[in-house]
Amino acid sequence: MNHQPLIRVKNLSVNFTTADETVEAVKHVSFDIQAGQSIALVGESGSGKSVSALSILNLHEASHVNYPSGEVVYQQQNLLLKSEAEMRRIRGRDIAMIFQEPMSSLNPVYPIEKQMLESIMLHQRVDRSAALKLALDMLDRVGIPDPARQIKSFPHMLSGGQRQRVMIAMALSCKPKLLIADEPTTALDVTIQKQILELLRKLQAEFNMSVLLISHDLNLVKHYADYVCVMNRGELVEQGDIQRVFEHAQHPYTRHLLASQPTQLVSASNEARQTLLKGSNICVYFAVTKGFFKRKVDEIRAVDQVDIELRQGETLGIVGESGSGKTTLGMSLLRLQSSTGEISFNGQRLDALRESALRPLRKEFQVVFQDPFSSLSPRMTVEQIIGEGLQIHYPRLDAAQRLQRIKKVLAEVDMDESALWRYPHEFSGGQRQRIAIARVVILEPALILLDEPTSALDVSVQKQVLELLVRLQQRHQLSYLFISHDLNVIRSISHHIMVMKQGRVVEQGDTRTLFTQPQQAYTRELLSAAMLNHQQHD
C-alpha cells in the first residue's frame, strides 16, 4: 500500500493585499488528502475554507494574492510555484472543481453539449465523436434521464439539481484524482441534496477519487466525509477522523460549533391559549396567459386551499422545499400578497379590508426577512430604520421619547447604543438580523412573520438569534409564523409544524408528534433527507 498522500498541504498561508490593507485569509494550514478519501473542510463564513481549497488549484486573482509560507505538494511538485500554463494542464484533468451555484457556473448562452465537449476535447485530446460518447456516458452515470436529448439543452432548461449533476458530469469526465466540491448542495433542496451526495459517494467509489468537500453544514459533513478539518478565522484548529472529532472534540471552537446545533428551545403547546390568527381556504393562483389578448391558458396554484391556525404566544413552523408556497402563504396572511379565502386576526376579518383601512392595523403583524442585507435600507441609519415604525404608528411620541424607546429595544436585542448612528453595511449578518428584529419588536406587535430569518447566518449566530427570538416571545407573548426549509431550526423553535408541498398542506401537527410519528411519506422523506441529529430524538 502506498502511504504517500495524493496531495499534501504544508504550512499554507494566504494573504490578500489591496491598496490599503493586507488580509491574512489563511494562516499556517497543513493537511493531507489520501487517495480515495473524502475529506471535509468545515467552518463558518470567513473562516478561510474556500480560500485554502482554491489555493490547491491556484485559482486566486494573481495580482492580489501572495503566499508568505507553505507548499501544496502533488506528485512531488509544489503547485504554488507552477506557471499558469502548467496549472492549466492540471486543472480539470487531475483536479476538478464544482461550485455552489450551479446556475452561474454554467454558461447560459451555450448548450450543455458544447460546454462538456470543450473540456473533454481539451484535456483528453480525443476527436468530437469520442468526446460525445464519453459525455453521454457521463451524463447517464450522473442520472440525467435521456442524455442524448438533454445534452442539447441550455442550462436554464434544467432544474437546479440537474444542473449540479451536469456540473459533476463535466468535472468527472476527465477522471480527475481529486474533486474539490465547494458547498455543492447549499443552493439545493434537502431531498435533492441527499441525492447529489449519494451520487458523489457512488462515483467516488467507482473512480477511486478523492473528494475535498467544503461545507458549513456539520450534519452533512458528518454523514458524508471520512476525515474532517475544522477551520476558524484562517486557522485550522482541529483535524481528525470524523467519528473522533464529532464524539471527542478537543478544541474549544469545535465544541462550540457542535454545541451550536439548534436544540429544543420551546416547551409543548398549550391548548388553553386563544387563537390569534386563523385562515381558511387560502388560495393564491397565478394565471398563465398567452397571446396579445392575455388569454388565460393555465394557472399556477402557488397556495391551494390552505387552512391555518395560530395561537397567541406560540410558534407555527411552516416547512417545505423551494416552490412549496410557504412564503407566498405567509405574505397572503399578512395581506402583502393578494389571495382568496378568509383571514381573521384577533377576531377581525382582514381579507375584506382595503389597504388604507389595513394600514393602522399593520402595527400588529410584522415581518422579518431572510436576507438581512437586502431588508435594511442601505441609506438609512439604524436609528432611522428602527424609529420609522414609531413615527407611523405612535405619532404622538416626541423625538426624545422615540430615542428612549429605540435605545430600550436595542438593549433588548443585545446591541450597543453606539449602533444608532451607523449604517447597516457596518454590521455583520447576525447584527443586521438583530436590527431587523428590533425594527419590528419596537412596535409591540402581536404576530411576527419570520421568513427564513436564520438561513443566511452561520450556525453559532443562528443559535443566538433563535434564542433571542424565544426570549422575546416569552417576554412579550409574541406569536410567530416561522417559515424555513431547515427542519433542525423549525424543530427547535416551533410549537406546531405545517409541512407544505406544491402549495398544499401535506401534514400538520405539534412538533414532537410530527417528528416522531410522521404520517405522510413526503414528511418521512424530508426527515430522512435532513439527516437530523439522532440523539435529540430520544
Binding site: 470567513g46 402595527k363 415581518v367 436576507d371 442601505p378 420609522e388 455583520s428 447576525g430 453559532s460
Partner: protein, 360 residues
C-alpha cells in the same frame, strides 16, 4: 459575505468601531467624506467664491460709480437713477458718468466719486482705445474690447453669472421632472409604466433644435424661453435611470418591510426608494450642469440663444471666431469655460463620494 460574529453576545465587534468616528450625525459624516476629496473640496471653495462674487457683478463691474459726493451730499448711482441736471449738467436724461464733462464736475471743487474696480458694464462702449475695435488688452480694458468696443472683462463676469444661474435652474427643473417621472414609472410599473414609456418615445423623437429655431422666430428670444424649452426635453434621459433603479428596488425586502410597517406609497417612494436611487442622479449632476452651460454657449454661438445685448459666453466665442487674430476674445472665454466646467466636475465627484454611505 457575512463576517463571523464574535461568540459572545457583546455584539459590537471592536474591529468595526475603529473605521468611523461614532458620535457623528449622518450629515457630519457626509461632510467628512466630502472633505476627504481634496480636489473637490478646494474646487467647491474656489467655485463658490467666484460665483458669489459674480452675483455682485453690478458692484464690481459697472459704468456707474458706487458712491458720489457732490456738494456735500451723497449719491448712490448704482442703485438709484439720477438725472444729469442733478449734478449741474444740461440734460434731463440719466447722467453718463463716463462722459468727460460729467467726470469733470464730479471730481473737482471738493466733489469726489468711488468707482467700481472695473468701470464698465456689459453694454458700456469704451472709447479709450485709439486702435480699432476689437482692441487688445490695455490699462483701461484689462482683457481688451470686443468688436463693438465693449469691455471683455465686464462681459465675461456678467456672462459667467448668467451661464451658471441658467445652468443651475435648468438642472434643478430637469432633474426634478426626471426624478418624478422615473419614480412614478418605476414604482407603479405595469400600465402606468407602459403609457409613460410610449409617451417618452414620442416626445423624445421631436426634433429639439428645429423647435428651438421655430420658437426663436415666433417669440422674442429670452433666457426664460430657453429654460422652458430645454426643460421640456431635458428630463427624459434621467427618468429612465431613476425608473430602472425603482424597478430594481421595489422588489427588495426593505421595501416589503416598509410596506409591512404600514408606510404609504409616497412614504416608501421618498424615504426608502429615492435615497437608494440617487446614484445615477448624483453621478450625472455635474455633467448636467456643465452640459447646460455648454448648451447655452453653443446656442448663443449659433445665434439661437439669448437676445443680442445679453452678455453671453457663446456670443463672445462666436466673436472670437469672426476675429481670429483677436486672441483675447477666444482665449479668455475659453479659460472661463474650462475653469468652470472642471471645477463643477470635481465638485460633483466629491459629492458622489460624500453621499455614498458605504464609504467610511
Amino acid at each position: 459575505m457575512i463576517t463571523p460574529e464574535s461568540t459572545t453576545p457583546a455584539v459590537i465587534d471592536p474591529a468595526e468601531t475603529v473605521t468611523a468616528p461614532t458620535h457623528m450625525s449622518p450629515g457630519q459624516r457626509a461632510w467628512h467624506r466630502f472633505r476627504a476629496n481634496k480636489r473637490g473640496y478646494y474646487s467647491l471653495w474656489i467655485f463658490s467664491f467666484v460665483f458669489v462674487l459674480s452675483l455682485f457683478a453690478e458692484v464690481i463691474s459697472n459704468d456707474k460709480p458706487l458712491l458720489v459726493h457732490y456738494q456735500d451730499e451723497y449719491y448712490f448711482p448704482v442703485f438709484k437713477f439720477y438725472k444729469e441736471t442733478d449734478f449741474g449738467g444740461d440734460f434731463e436724461t440719466e447722467a453718463d458718468y463716463q462722459d468727460e464733462y460729467v467726470r469733470e464736475i464730479l471730481t473737482s471743487n471738493g466733489n469726489w466719486m468711488i468707482e467700481p474696480l472695473n468701470p464698465f458694464s456689459y453694454t458700456t462702449i469704451s472709447y479709450h482705445s485709439e486702435l480699432a475695435n476689437p482692441a487688445p488688452p490695455s490699462e483701461y480694458n484689462v482683457l481688451g474690447t470686443d468688436d463693438r468696443g465693449r469691455d471683455v472683462m465686464a462681459r465675461l463676469i456678467y456672462g459667467f453669472r448668467l451661464s451658471i444661474l441658467f445652468a443651475i435652474s435648468l438642472t434643478i427643473v430637469g432633474t426634478a421632472i426626471g426624478i418624478l417621472a422615473g419614480m412614478l414609472q418605476g414604482y407603479f410599473g405595469g400600465r402606468t409604466d407602459l403609457f409613460f414609456q410610449r409617451f417618452i418615445e414620442i416626445w423624445g423623437s421631436m426634433p429639439e433644435l428645429y423647435l428651438l429655431i421655430i420658437f426663436a422666430s415666433i417669440f422674442q428670444p429670452s433666457i426664460w424661453l430657453l429654460i422652458v424649452l430645454l426643460s421640456l426635453f431635458g428630463w427624459m434621459g434621467l427618468s429612465d435611470y431613476v425608473r430602472a433603479e425603482f424597478l430594481k428596488g421595489r422588489n427588495l425586502d426593505y421595501v416589503k418591510s416598509a410596506r409591512a410597517l404600514g408606510l404609504s406609497n409616497s412614504g416608501i417612494m421618498f424615504r426608502h426608494l429615492l435615497p437608494n436611487s440617487l446614484t445615477p442622479v448624483i453621478t450625472f449632476l455635474p455633467f448636467r450642469i456643465s452640459g447646460a452651460i455648454l448648451a447655452l454657449t453653443s446656442l448663443d454661438y449659433l445665434g439661437l440663444g439669448v437676445p443680442p445685448d445679453t452678455p453671453s459666453l457663446g456670443e463672445l466665442l462666436s466673436q472670437g471666431k469672426e476675429n481670429i487674430s483677436a486672441w483675447w476674445l477666444s482665449l479668455s472665454t475659453f479659460g472661463v469655460l474650462v475653469g468652470a466646467l472642471m471645477m463643477l466636475i470635481f465638485i460633483g465627484e466629491a459629492l458622489r463620494e460624500a453621499l455614498d454611505t458605504r464609504k467610511s
